[in-house]
Amino acid sequence: MTVLQALDIGLAALVLAVAGWTIVAREAFAAVVGYVAYGLLLSLVWVRLFAVDVALTEAAIGSGVTGVLLISAAARLRKTEAPATDERLGAPLRLLAGTVCAVVAAALAAVVLLMPDPGSTLAPEAAQHLAETGLGNPITAVLISYRAFDTMLEKVVLILAVIGVWSLAPDRYWGGAPGPQRVARHEGALAFLAQLLAPLGIVVGVHIFWVGADEPGGAFQGGAILAAMWMIVMMARLVEAPSISALWLRLTLVAGPVVFLAIGVLGFAVASGFLTYPTGFAKPLILFIEAFMTLSIAATLPMLVMGPPSRPPRP
């Protein structure tokens, strides 16, 4: 066994142990903290699978932003945990559930082991599209060109989720702002962190978006880092979340899919159909779309984490 194999096996065991902890932990908070650790480890696994783009997404969204969402939810739901334990399933039912889940896992493991090697692949098609777009990162090319329709619908899903979250607001708060209010005197260390980290993070986020054309990175990863930076200045209460009826906020939220759709429709006129790009202009157009998608993601993720408005609108 080589060192690398030992490392892989250790990493897999660790991932499973932490995952097991998030299931068996007694308190929700302890489970959620385990989930943050799990996300960190999972991004290491993705690096080992040579999927650096996915590792970046997992690090930023899977561990970072989801972690913050779940930690604040667990803190607010602490009082409800004791009543819920009354509804625990009995031991026989749990045993049955465990057996069913073990069978499912075993079946999937068999599929994994029986999978042909090399398996079926769409890589040649993706490579062909890569050549047409002039990009260097095949994943960005798949996201924005080869499977562009999926990506656009996924942006629409994000907006639907924001609408869903906002519509949970009580009537009297509609048009107000979510999250805590800005304060004049902040806790020193946190404000310091946010003031120093946010500019650096914006640089890194834009860098990851920009290199996404040719290297691992792209709109999702860059946007998620920008979103995290906005969230950190809101958590430090240096800035306040905008009112949900603010026009600029709504425009930013829809900018990504609207630009995507507009250029897609333009494809009918200047290229070979919906969501296609004219030869020679593919790369600038893709970067143009991605810039707006980055902005939209940077605005959407914090809005999803902050939840529905919690204050009445200012008169």
């Binding site: 806790e187 020193g188 946190l190 962190l193 120093l196 980290l197 650096l200 890194v204």
Partner: protein, 97 residues
């Protein structure tokens, strides 16, 4: 030349790993949260710092080295702030007896 760089890398990374181990031992063995926090910050600063230092000779080009240093600086900033915040939270919960 490259042998000297390799020896440097090995020494720095071994020392860095030692600090990670020390941090873990402290986190597990120290009696209360504030002393555990002390152990944690040592691993954060020195452990990662030495590993980054050891990897610098192996880095490819200026940008790679710059990124390594940026990673260290960011973790440094995060570690220092989080130590402050956690200490604050601890003191708030348990006023000095």
């Amino acid at each position: 030349m490259s042998t000297i760089a390799d020896v440097f890398t090995v020494v720095a990374i071994c020392t860095g790993s030692f600090f990670f181990m020390a941090g873990t031992v402290g986190l597990l063995r120290f009696p209360d949260a504030l002393t555990r926090l002390h152990a944690l910050t040592k691993a954060d600063n020195l452990g990662l710092g030495l590993i980054v230092l050891g990897l610098l000779p192996q880095a490819d080009g200026m940008l790679g080295a710059l990124k390594l240093i940026a990673v260290w600086a960011l973790v440094q900033l995060a570690g220092a702030t989080v130590a402050q915040l956690i200490a604050h939270a601890l003191l708030r919960k348990r006023p000095p007896t």
